[in-house]
């Protein structure tokens, strides 16, 4: 016990100074990282004129509810928030399922066209999606889907990153277990849902979080697809506020804060899965 307690005391003074320097540098970086968020939170509770006042406000003010009411007035924030949640939830559920199934198919079956499919998956990761914008827009216009939710959700349901992430998870799944499920008379789909899927929960968790975040943040495609204000998602609605002659900065900051908070919460709650998913392709290579 005494040896353990004494251990920290034995650190050389120079080394201890070094440790404080490291902490100081990390803290300075953290401040830079966090100031925009803090400023967003503070600004959301002030009026626009207070925001650019000199000196600027450093403490929360009393205009939060004013700003919220104005946001509801100008862009119907409640409705817009509901649209974003609905689109993100439907998209995430469908996309995760499709990606998981495809990853499983690629990992556990040999079939004609497998190489082609794998090639397509890799190609979508290399090609910037803006290349597809014009033709996709023309496609949606020709079937009359402009200003519809399905036009926002459908084109990006098949997610290459997700497919590769899930494939990686399924590759290690023992074939013997699949065979024994087959011998027990379980159908292929049933085996997938009952036996295989529960075993890759970590990867599936990472995929769900990633997909939700990506859809929640998605900006250009919904901007092109949605025309009527009552169908807007949060980023699209906030964007309309930036183009006005007298920009309502405090309203925008509150809207931005409310748009970011769900993501921050998701990230902080599921940090481990998130980082694991992020590293799926990075460190193994």
């Amino acid at each position: 016990m005494t040896a353990l307690q004494q251990a920290p005391v034995r650190i050389h003074p120079a080394r201890r100074a070094g440790r404080y320097l490291v902490r100081l540098l990390l803290a300075a970086g953290a401040v830079v990282s966090l100031v925009p968020f803090l400023w967003m939170a503070i600004a959301a509770t002030h009026s626009t004129s207070e925001l650019f006042h000199s000196p600027p406000p450093f403490l929360p003010g009393g205009r939060l509810l004013d700003n919220l009411a104005r946001l509801q007035d100008t862009i119907g924030f409640g409705r817009v928030l509901l649209n974003s949640v609905g689109i993100a939830v439907v998209h995430t559920a469908l996309s995760s399922l499709i990606s998981a199934m495809c990853g499983y198919g690629l990992a556990k079956y040999r079939f004609r066209g497998r190489g082609l499919l794998l090639g397509a998956v890799l190609a979508t990761m290399m090609i910037p999606f803006q290349v597809l914008l014009v033709p996709l827009f023309q496609m949606m216009a020709s079937v009359g889907w402009i200003d519809s939710y399905q036009a926002v959700i459908l084109p990006f349901l098949a997610n290459s990153f997700g497919i590769l992430l899930m494939r990686q998870g399924f590759v290690d799944f023992p074939d013997e277990l699949l065979e024994s499920a087959r011998i027990d008379g379980s159908g292929e789909l049933r085996t997938f849902y009952r036996v295989v899927l529960p075993c890759v929960r970590p990867q599936l968790g990472a995929l769900v979080i990633f997909t939700f975040m990506a859809q929640w943040n998605s900006f250009i495609w919904p901007l092109l697809m949605l025309n009527s204000e009552e169908k807007y998602t949060v980023p699209v609605a906030l964007n309309t506020l930036t183009g006005l002659t007298r920009v309502d900065y405090s309203g925008l900051m509150l809207g931005s804060l409310l748009a970011t908070l769900p993501l921050m919460l998701l990230f902080l709650l599921f940090q481990r899965q998130f980082v694991a998913g992020l590293l799926g392709g990075a460190v193994k290579g």
Binding site: V22, P36, P135, P155, V234, L278
Partner: protein
């Protein structure tokens, strides 16, 4: 594999049933991969082909004509496009190295074994990467506002005059580079940190026993092993820069005077504001070619890495 297959068909272990079994399995494979394959065909392969064709056409009064390589020839004399390439080059030469360098320092600092609350530090640094795009743009516009923005007020407090962050070409580039660095440094640091953590503890200990200090241990023993991960970060950042759209579109719309214009923002403007679809498609395919070239370089570099 051997045990289950014999269980599957215990009577006749010849080749014919094996082929029959494979044939039976094939439809099942497509049940799993079919939905994604159909979506790729419809929403990736088809528009991709359409855009390639489009890049060889021109539209005149609603009618589409074959234009050969005309659209690509236009690019060579288009000052806006050349400017967008120059801007991309500046970001590649200035921002990517600065960001990767900072991320590397950050990762090494976070990797110190005595550091407590590492998860919290990591989360704080990663947070900028999960910000909603529009929120990120709005907060930087407010921070960098020339008249009364927090940055200019802070500079004013130490006696530095107003800087026109987003409206002067040179400063707009600085602002874009700074905000890109703010958003992505932590992201890269987390990847590099994971790389550092995959290097065995015994290597640090062995170096320490040999009398190597912390700094020289990192410089001579640890960082050389991190090369593949650093390379991964450099490559993804380079491809990200070549595709840059979000940050500069929402922050400055590519302006002022095209100082923050990138090829993809230009593509978007040409396609959806000037409705010049053929030209937009040609720009898109130049970007694809650039990314393919970088990926080929990556392949060569990684190949050399493996041979070592």
């Amino acid at each position: 594999m051997a045990v289950p297959t014999t269980c599957d068909r215990p009577v006749a272990p010849t080749r014919a049933p094996a082929r029959a079994r494979r044939r039976r399995l094939r439809p099942t494979a497509w049940i799993f991969t079919g939905p994604a394959a159909a979506l790729f065909a419809l929403f990736f392969a088809y528009p991709l082909g359409a855009s390639l064709l489009q890049s060889f056409t021109t539209e005149d009064a609603g009618a589409t004509h074959w234009a050969g390589l005309d659209q690509y020839r236009r690019l060579i004399d288009d000052p806006a496009f050349l400017e967008s390439l120059v801007n991309t080059g500046i970001i590649l030469v200035v921002q990517v190295p600065v960001m990767i360098g900072l991320a590397l320092v950050l990762a090494v600092l976070l990797n110190q074994s005595w550091l407590r609350f590492r998860g919290t530090w990591r989360a704080v640094y990663f947070l900028p990467a999960v910000t909603t795009l529009v929120a990120y743009a709005v907060v930087f516009q407010v921070l960098l506002k020339t008249d009364g923005g927090l940055v200019n007020q802070s500079l004013g407090a130490v006696g530095i005059g107003q800087v026109d962050w987003l409206n002067s070409p040179a400063w707009a580039r600085v602002s874009l580079i700074a905000s890109l660095t703010w958003r992505w440094t932590g992201y890269n640091a987390v990847i590099l940190l994971a790389g550092l953590q995959s290097i065995g503890k015994e290597q640090y200990e062995a170096a320490a026993i040999d009398g190597s200090g912390t700094v020289s241990t990192y410089a001579r023993v640890i960082l050389p092993q991190l090369r593949p991960v650093v390379l991964f970060c450099v490559i993804t950042s380079t491809i990200g820069t070549l595709q840059l759209f979000d940050e500069n579109y929402v922050l400055t719309r590519g302006g002022p005077d095209d100082a923050t214009l990138t090829p993809v923002v230009y593509l978007y403007k040409v396609g959806f504001q000037q409705l010049d679809f053929g030209y937009a498609a040609a720009i898109a395919w130049v970007v694809v070619a650039l990314i393919a070239a970088v990926s080929a370089l990556q392949y060569v570099a990684f190949g050399r890495e493996r041979r070592r």
